[in-house]
């Protein structure tokens, strides 16, 4: 198979003179450079990020809330020294908020300013004039495409937009270009790294999934969670971190409405450090459990299962 390098191919389609260099040389380098920005990745995260860069494809990141999906995009932006452009999705998001909008007020002013001059062919001038880039309001997608410096585009919670609106994204995701009827097509000047996150509240369309690499970020295992705590919570001892990670794992093993996320674990760790604890006693755990769990029924259940006297022997 004589396939062209994906980056070269894309660069040719975009009409770029030089193929933009890759940011990472290997998955291990991804791991190291993210770790330098306090983001501890695992094999899957590192290899998908590497491939996204190498193959010039967007990444769709799914997983439970609070496991570091958004943080990944931020860390990658930090590590590559790129600017992070964020599009927060919500229901009712449309073209004028995602792609671009004409600046009506400025256009109106321009027309009024032009009225004093003679009419006639002036109008033709004007017409060409008011649909120029000057009157264009760039929204995140267009901004990411037209940026000349390296950027990381984060499309957050893409599952919140309607199925029809998803189609807006497709051109950007596969061709790295935006078509504006009055202006023509705006092509990317570089190859941005694109991350989409989803909390999986609805099925995304096949068309979107096909254009993306897929990354599932689940809850970390005990070792990784301990390392994350050590990295992100200053002044914590490694025994306490280990103990916290184990408590959280046991909690996730219970059938809870909402399992504790990594960010909640970090909050809990910070609280225990502030309280000056070196290890977690039953009393401390009972008193601070509400930081990890957000439903009363969950708290009751966890108290009973983890701290209760009548522990059933398996």
């Amino acid at each position: 198979m004589t396939s062209l390098d994906p980056r070269e191919e894309l660069a040719r389609r975009l009409g770029l003179v030089h193929v933009p260099p890759v940011h990472f040389a290997s998955p291990d380098e991804v791991k190291d450079r993210l770790a330098a920005k306090s983001y501890l990745s695992d094999d899957a995260i590192a290899s998908v990020t590497f491939l996204a860069d190498r193959l010039a494809k967007p990444v769709l990141v799914e997983g439970p809330a609070g496991t570091g999906k958004t943080a990944l995009a931020q860390a990658v932006a930090d590590a590559t020294g790129a600017r992070l452009i964020r599009l927060q999705c919500y229901e009712g998001l449309d073209e004028s908020k995602a792609l671009y909008e004409w600046n009506y007020r400025k256009q109106l002013l321009r027309i009024q300013a032009g009225r004093s001059e003679s009419a006639g062919e002036e109008w033709r001038h004007l017409e060409e004039d008011i649909f120029a880039e000057e009157f264009l309001l760039r929204r995140p997608l267009l901004e990411a495409i037209s940026a000349t410096e390296p950027v990381v585009l984060l499309i957050d919670e893409v599952d919140r937009v309607e199925l029809e609106t998803e189609a807006l994204l497709l051109e950007v995701l596969s061709e790295y270009q935006v078509s504006i009827p009055e202006l023509g097509t705006v092509r990317a000047h570089q190859i941005p790294l694109v991350f989409l996150t989803s909390n999986n509240t609805r099925e995304l369309s096949e068309a979107l999934k096909r254009r993306c690499l897929y990354l599932y970020i689940g809850y970390p295992d005990v070792q990784r969670e301990r390392d994350i705590i050590l990295e992100r919570v200053p002044g914590i001892s490694s025994t306490l971190a280990e103990q916290i990670a184990r408590v959280v794992r046991s909690l996730r093993g219970l059938d809870l409405k909402k399992a504790p996320s990594v960010s909640e674990t970090l909050d809990w760790a910070r609280t225990l450090v502030l309280l000056g604890r070196e290890e977690i006693g039953d009393e401390d755990a009972a008193a601070t459990l509400h930081i990890l769990l957000k439903y009363q029924t969950d708290i009751e259940r966890a108290t009973k299962e983890l701290l209760g006297r009548g522990r059933t022997v398996a």
């Binding site: 198979m1 491939l51 494809k57 103990q243 408590v247 794992r249 046991s250 522990r311």
Partner: protein, 469 residues
């Protein structure tokens, strides 16, 4: 490598994961970009390009383990050649050190020594020693016979039975102290035991691949995706998978239906809002605004058989219907075996449908005589007590396999309900081919239903319930 990739993708498709042509090409490109000798990287690259749904990942990993075990990827061909020249039955090439050394020396180990080795490996988290111990345990206990077309569950069971895992788990740290510390030690020990099980399973699988080749093995270890599991014949593991899949499924369905309803129709013009909008166009109402529509929500009555054979299907359906109950103006649920009882209050009492479903078993009074389903009697009693509540706005769902244990059918009762109700649907968890065989009398009821729907999997169930709202 590309051939191997093709075979692998064929296996994924056979297991139900949709892999498109362009994803195949992406995978081919991805493996050109990475270090093929690094198994974790290959796994990551293939997972990222071929699997687009978190729920499909377990199936992917099983298939990956089968296809990329013997051949340590990369120099796959080389490794094969090398092995064949070395010895006709050389051990797998997956790890350089430990597995090669397993031939003669380790088989002199006694059962106690093996138990001690495993205990230490687990206690210290020593991966190499654990692998060696698992290999030894499989050689010793599994009693593998070449050429037998099994998936390995049997060998796994035999090996684990001989390893005395309870004893091992106890030694690993289950202290008897109560409270948090004891619980943590207990969970830690349990996880280490899981690691041992996984290691033994991997060992068995690799030997099976050596014996029979990956394609044949992949076929026998293939597991259905959660949404394709046959609810009536699910084993315990699959049941747990179903339970896990149900919650996100019902949440997605609720979101989808709510959106559809919001968009589908629009109500009368909202004058206030329109006038407000018209200010930006100089008082000319260019942009009409509408009030949200008055929802036209059906009432649902669910009548579910909860006798042994179809209990789990009834539980799932009740869970799903109640999870999206905001889409209906009213949901009433009845469960029966040979007596019938209303359980609506259970669902109203707790906000989590799963909890209510769990309470049905304990609290509903459904057995009047001998505990064999009696559809005729259940429907008659329902008709006597509740028929006047069934109106033109009510949709009746009957759940069950219509296996009536040769009792009276009383189809005329269902006919009368059909006459009163907006619609009657019968959801049958049995494959359509089995209907009307033995004591199944679905044909007697079918004429009085809008439709009899085969609902064997979550996918079918979700589709039907989605149509209903």
């Amino acid at each position: 490598m590309l051939d191997l990739l093709g075979e692998f993708i064929a296996e994924l498709r056979a297991a139900g994961i949709p892999v498109s042509m362009s994803e195949h090409m992406d995978a081919a490109r991805a493996i050109q970009a990475i270090d093929l000798a690094n198994r974790a990287q290959v796994r990551g690259a293939l997972a990222a390009t071929l699997v687009k749904d978190g729920a499909h990942l377990p199936v992917f990993h099983t298939a990956f383990d089968v296809f990329f075990s013997l051949r340590s990827v990369g120099a796959a061909e080389d490794a094969l050649d090398e092995m064949e020249s070395e010895a006709p039955h050389a051990p797998g090439a997956s790890g350089p050190g430990p597995r090669r050394g397993r031939g003669g020396a380790s088989s002199t180990m006694s059962a106690e020594e093996l138990a001690e080795l495993l205990f230490r490996a687990l206690r210290d988290g020593d991966g190499d020693a654990l692998r060696r111990g698992a290999a030894e345990a499989v050689t010793r206990y599994a009693g593998m016979e070449p050429g037998r077309p099994v998936g390995g569950t049997y060998y796994l069971y035999r090996t684990l039975r001989n390893l005395e895992l309870e004893e091992l788990e106890r030694r690993l740290g289950a202290s008897d102290e109560a409270g948090l510390a004891g619980r943590l030690a207990h969970d830690e020990a349990a996880e280490r035991i899981e690691r041992l099980k996984a290691e033994v399973e991997r060992e068995i699988r690799e030997r099976l691949v050596e014996d029979r080749g990956s394609q044949a093995l992949a076929r026998s270890v293939r597991k259905p995706l959660p949404e394709d599991i046959d609810v009536m014949h699910a084993n315990r593991d699959e049941m747990a998978q179903l339970e896990r899949a149900l919650r996100p499924l019902s949440r997605k369905l609720a979101v989808r239906l709510a959106r559809r309803r919001r968009r589908r129709r629009r109500g009368p013009v909202d004058l206030r809002h329109t006038v407000r909008r018209s200010l930006s166009t100089g008082g000319v109402p260019i942009d009409l605004r509408f009030k949200p529509p008055r929802p036209n929500k059906p009432e649902i009555v669910v009548i579910a058989d909860v006798s042994g054979s179809v209990a789990s299907f009834a539980r799932f359906t009740l869970h799903l219907v109640h999870a999206i109950s905001s889409q209906f103006s009213k949901v009433r649920s009845f469960v029966f075996v040979d007596g019938i009882d209303e359980v609506t209050s259970l669902f109203e009492a707790c906000d989590d449908p799963a909890e209510a479903v769990a309470r049905i078993n304990a609290e509903a009074d459904v057995i009047a005589f001998d505990g064999h389903s009696d559809y005729g009697r259940a429907l008659s009693v329902f008709h006597d007590l509740y028929a006047r509540d069934v109106t033109r706005r009510t949709t009746v769902l009957v759940l069950g396999d219509a296996r009536n244990n040769y009792h009276q059918a009383h189809p005329e009762v269902l006919a009368d309900l059909h006459h009163r109700a907006k619609a009657v649907y019968w959801l049958n968890p049995e494959p359509a081919a089995y209907w009307n065989s033995g004591d199944s009398i679905i044909a007697q009821y079918a004429p009085h239903c809008e439709a009899v729907v085969e609902c064997r999997t979550l996918r079918q169930l979700e589709f039907f319930v989605g149509q209903l709202a």
